[in-house]
């Protein structure tokens, strides 16, 4: 038993020194979502692209990803602690669940490791935690922009389809839509779907169809993800309301973009995830190596509205994996 | 004299260093009931497993009708006409009588890929076979086996074995979980099977049940055959004593002698 422990310890020390020896520049730990999440795949591309710069500076990027989204706050906190244990020179991470993660961030700061918030958390949080900066989207303003866009295109009664009710960022999106449209006298209510419908496009489509049939005054549907927008388009079509009900979504995919080009979808609210990954890593690298820091307090990568006016460039970017 | 239907010669079985069966030799003839008696752990179930092809003997031979046979699987034993019915009879409680009766031997009708299970024929045959054993309460082959009483399940399992041409029927504690009336019914069915010329091996530790139907008795104690006798050769008390104590035969013999001495040399009458 003792031998085994000794052996493991030796191996760990060798591994640790090996990593340390390899990275004499910045060792950047990035905490992120599952790689099979299409959204995080784009962030990851930004991270990978920025990693080339880091490498050129003699550093290395280590992407620590969540295995599931079942316990997102706790798992992310554990990953932050893992990064601390690995003696990262800087940690870039989303603050999804402040209550669970903030303690870990404080532990990082206490260990002398600077933190860069990206994707979730917001500028105020970054200030509170003493983070370098916040790079990303703020859900509520993105929702506001979406609501305003709906209003300016004539929608008065919009449902916001939430396939993960209770998730703070998604609730903020729907609230933003609601407040954004209210400014012009319209209204928006949330349609929360149960977990048994998650990932089942038919169940989502049918729920939207049924809701449209029940309330003929609905003239807009907002969805919180690109896949849900595909289901929504189907539900709207089944209800026979394609011409009357406008569709807008947070995030986007290839099929969404084609619909925008065709004219059967009004818009998509993009938070430009590639930029988040790219900036989080490249700005962290600049800060740790050379003390570089932007003067802009919060770097918002979104909302970027994708509609008929910029669809061609967006499609080109999507083909290359940047959007 | 023709060769016995089933003959075990010097069967030994060890699991690693533990000898479970020691030098067992037994014979069963067609139309005879052999009662295998013994306390728990005496090796009865191991012996059954060897007979039904689950285990192979470490040494010794199994012969059928004068020929040495070698069972590699329960299926193999079944093909030789050996059928085993366990304590709870039907092992598929949630299947219908007709369906469970024909598991693995389903009657079919129709042609080509559209051959379908002939449910009606299965039900009819199953019900008829059980009723022939005197279970008249069963008249619907669609009923679930789990809804039958313990005795009825035994009857169904025995009927199944008989229907598929078993020549040796091994009954493992068929009466152990039954009430008095049901047990009597199962014993009657055992006698019916015997009448049809089937060799029955009846495992029990109920001496009364054994004496009621047995022609031939063998007592196992700690893996060895402690006694082998024909009907009427031993009394119920003798057998009970054999099963319960029985480590030292001499001690037992002495006890029996003392018993007989106190009864003027007469054994007590056989309870029947």
């Amino acid at each position: 038993m003792k031998h085994v422990v000794k052996l493991l310890l030796t191996a760990a020390v060798i591994a640790a020194t090996a990593t340390a020896a390899r990275a004499d520049g910045a060792k950047i730990a990035v905490i992120g979502g599952k790689a099979d999440d299409p959204f995080f795949a784009k962030i990851k591309k930004g991270i990978d692209d920025a990693a080339m710069v880091v490498k050129a500076h003699g550093g290395a990027v280590n992407y620590l990803q969540l295995q599931t989204y079942d316990n997102i706050g706790g798992d992310a906190a554990n990953l932050i602690r893992t990064a601390i244990a690995q003696h990262a020179s800087v940690i870039a991470a989303p603050d999804w669940v402040a209550d669970s993660e903030d303690e870990a961030y404080k532990a990082a700061t206490a260990a002398g490791i600077p933190v860069m918030l990206y994707n979730a958390g917001g500028g105020d949080k970054a200030k509170e935690l003493g983070a370098i900066n916040y790079i990303g989207n703020e859900e509520y303003p993105a929702g506001l922009a979406g609501g305003a866009y709906f209003a300016s295109h004539g929608s008065k009664n919009v449902i916001c389809v939430n396939t993960v009710p209770g998730a703070g960022n998604l609730e903020a999106r729907c609230k933003g839509i609601s407040d954004g449209i209210a400014k012009s006298g319209g209204k928006s209510t949330q349609l929360p779907l149960p977990a048994s419908s998650f990932g089942n496009p038919t169940a989502v489509a049918e729920a939207i169809k049924a809701t449209l049939l029940k309330d003929a005054s609905i003239d807009g549907v907002a969805t919180i993800s690109a896949g849900d927008a595909d289901s929504a388009a189907n539900g709207i079509q089944q209800a026979g309301r394609t011409s009357k009900v406008k569709l807008g979504t947070f995030d986007m995919n290839e099929t969404n973009l084609e619909r925008i080009k065709e004219g059967t979808q009004l818009f998509a609210i993009d938070q430009q995830p590639w930029l988040q990954g790219f900036l989080a890593v490249s700005l962290s690298d600049g800060f740790v190596n050379y003390g570089l820091k932007t003067a802009t307090p919060t770097i918002l990568t979104g909302p970027g509205i994708v509609d008929a006016s910029n669809i061609d460039a967006t499609i080109a970017g999507a083909k290359a994996g940047y959007r | 004299m023709t060769a016995p239907l089933l003959k075990l010669t010097n069967i030994n079985k060890s699991f690693g260093p533990i000898d479970v069966l020691i030098d067992i030799s037994l014979e069963v003839n067609a139309g005879e009931v052999l009662c295998l008696l013994g306390d728990n752990g005496a090796g009865k179930s191991t012996l059954i497993k060897i007979l039904s092809g689950v285990h192979k003997a470490t040494s010794g031979t199994v012969g059928m009708r004068g020929k040495i046979v070698d069972f590699n699987s329960p299926r193999d034993a079944g093909d030789h006409g050996i059928a085993t019915v366990h304590q709870f009879g039907g092992t598929f409680p949630l299947m219908s009588i007709g369906r469970s009766f024909f598991v693995g031997e389903e009657p079919k009708k129709g042609w080509g890929p559209f051959k379908i299970l002939d449910r009606k024929r299965a039900n009819d045959i199953a019900v008829k076979a059980v009723r022939e054993l005197g279970i008249t309460r069963i008249d619907d082959g669609d009923r679930l086996v789990g809804g039958l009483s313990g005795g009825e399940r035994q009857a169904l399992a025995i009927a199944r074995a008989v229907h598929f041409g078993a020549s040796v029927l091994i009954l493992d504690e068929p009466t152990a979980a039954l009430g008095v009336k049901e047990a009597a019914h199962v014993l009657r069915i055992v006698l019916q099977a015997r009448q049809r010329g089937i060799a029955v091996i009846f495992i029990t530790h109920n001496v009364i049940h054994a004496l009621t139907v047995g022609d031939h008795f063998a007592v196992l104690i700690k893996g060895a055959k402690a006694a082998d006798f024909r009907k009427g050769e031993r009394t119920r008390e003798e057998i009970t004593d054999l099963m319960a104590g029985g480590e030292h035969m001499a001690e037992l013999e002495a006890e029996i002698a003392a018993y007989m001495a106190s009864h003027d040399g007469h054994p007590p009458p056989v309870a029947e």
Binding site: A41, P192, L213, N234 | L94, G134
Partner: protein, 339 residues
């Protein structure tokens, strides 16, 4: 047997595995017909739950047969996205003919099912654990391959009109063509379970695998075939959804695992095997779909959807248990004198 009389209809009904689920279905239908109003009872309302039931039902059928045979397959949770990604990558990204894409997807389903079956049969590890392993393995494989081959995790596919007509269009604008595939699958599985002798084998295997093997049933071959059925069916659902919704995502379909198991159990299949019927599985799937979708026709706040789903499903399962007990206890001679 000449004196085998017709049993009274009640007795026959009581002991059928689907009786409980039929009552469960009627209960939830009446519930939503009352609270959901005219829209729920209309053709488009029916399409709401039929469409959901169809894709779920195609997976639930083989899962049900596996459960009757005493096994479980949860790898469907990643076989569904594997099927949709396969067709989207092969035919959408690489522009191969749609038949090649469909063939690839189904072949992957068959291979994964075969691996599941062989592992279960050879290792004697419970199928829940084996398929839990393949659930993750397939998910990882799909993700890895998708990123290597296409650089993204969400692939679009534009199927031709024939493929759309066969797999991905709405009849009359409301009913998914998948419903007909489901009906075909139900007829096929119904034939296998209730009319062919294989059905007897499956029931016997679920009742007692050892006895079934001793009775001469090739239990290993049947087990492997059943796992292949569920793999192929899951891949089929995945590919038809990709064709229907014009896109495929790497991570979708985990909710099918529980939804399929719930449908099967609500349909009267015993979780431990040996008892169940195809009609029951179909009814259970419809019940689940109605409960899951009916809420949107009612005036209830959708926040309560999960609660209502949970309660109605519990009721349906309790109904099943009651009827299974009745089926076991049922005997025509009850009360008469016994031998």
């Amino acid at each position: 047997m000449s004196n085998q009389t017709r049993r009274p209809a009640l007795g026959n009904l009581l002991r059928r595995p689907e009786t409980g689920s039929l009552l469960g279905l009627v209960t939830v239908f009446v519930f939503f017909a009352v609270f959901g109003g005219a829209d729920f009872a209309s053709a488009t309302g029916a399409a709401s739950w039929l469409n959901v039931a169809a894709s779920l039902g195609i997976v639930a059928l083989p899962i049900g047969l596996l459960m009757i045979a005493g096994e479980l397959d949860i790898s469907i949770g990643s076989m569904i996205p594997a099927g949709s990604m396969a067709v989207a990558i092969v035919s959408g990204h690489f522009h191969a003919p749609i038949l090649v894409g469909i063939g690839t997807a189904l072949a992957i389903g068959a291979v994964v099912g075969f691996i599941n079956g062989v592992l279960v049969v050879r290792t004697a590890v419970p199928s829940f654990i084996v398929t839990l392993g393949t659930l993750f393995a397939v998910a990882g494989l799909v993700l890895g391959l998708s990123v290597i081959l296409t650089g993204t995790t969400s692939v679009g596919i534009k199927a031709g009109p024939e493929a759309k007509w066969l797999l991905g269009h709405f009849i009359g604008g409301t009913f998914q063509v998948t419903i007909f595939w489901w009906i075909a699958a139900a007829l096929l599985f119904g034939f296998v379970l209730h009319y062919s002798h294989y059905g007897n084998w499956i029931l016997a295997m679920g009742g007692d695998k050892v006895s079934a093997r001793n009775a001469g049933i090739p239990t290993e071959r049947v087990t492997i075939l059943l796992f292949m059925c569920s793999g192929v069916s899951a891949a089929f659902v995945g590919l038809s959804q990709a064709i229907l919704y014009n896109s495929a995502q790497v991570s979708a379909g985990q909710s099918y695992i529980f939804n399929a198991i719930i449908s099967v159990v609500v349909g009267g299949v015993l979780l431990t095997g040996g008892y169940g019927s195809v009609v029951g599985i179909v009814l259970g799937t419809i019940t689940f779909a109605i409960v899951n979708q009916g809420i949107y026709y009612t005036g209830f706040d959708a926040n309560w959807a999960s609660l209502i789903i949970g309660i109605l499903l519990l009721l349906a399962v309790l109904m099943n248990n009651t009827f299974r007990k009745l089926a076991l206890a049922y005997s025509p001679a009850r009360g008469k004198s016994r031998t």
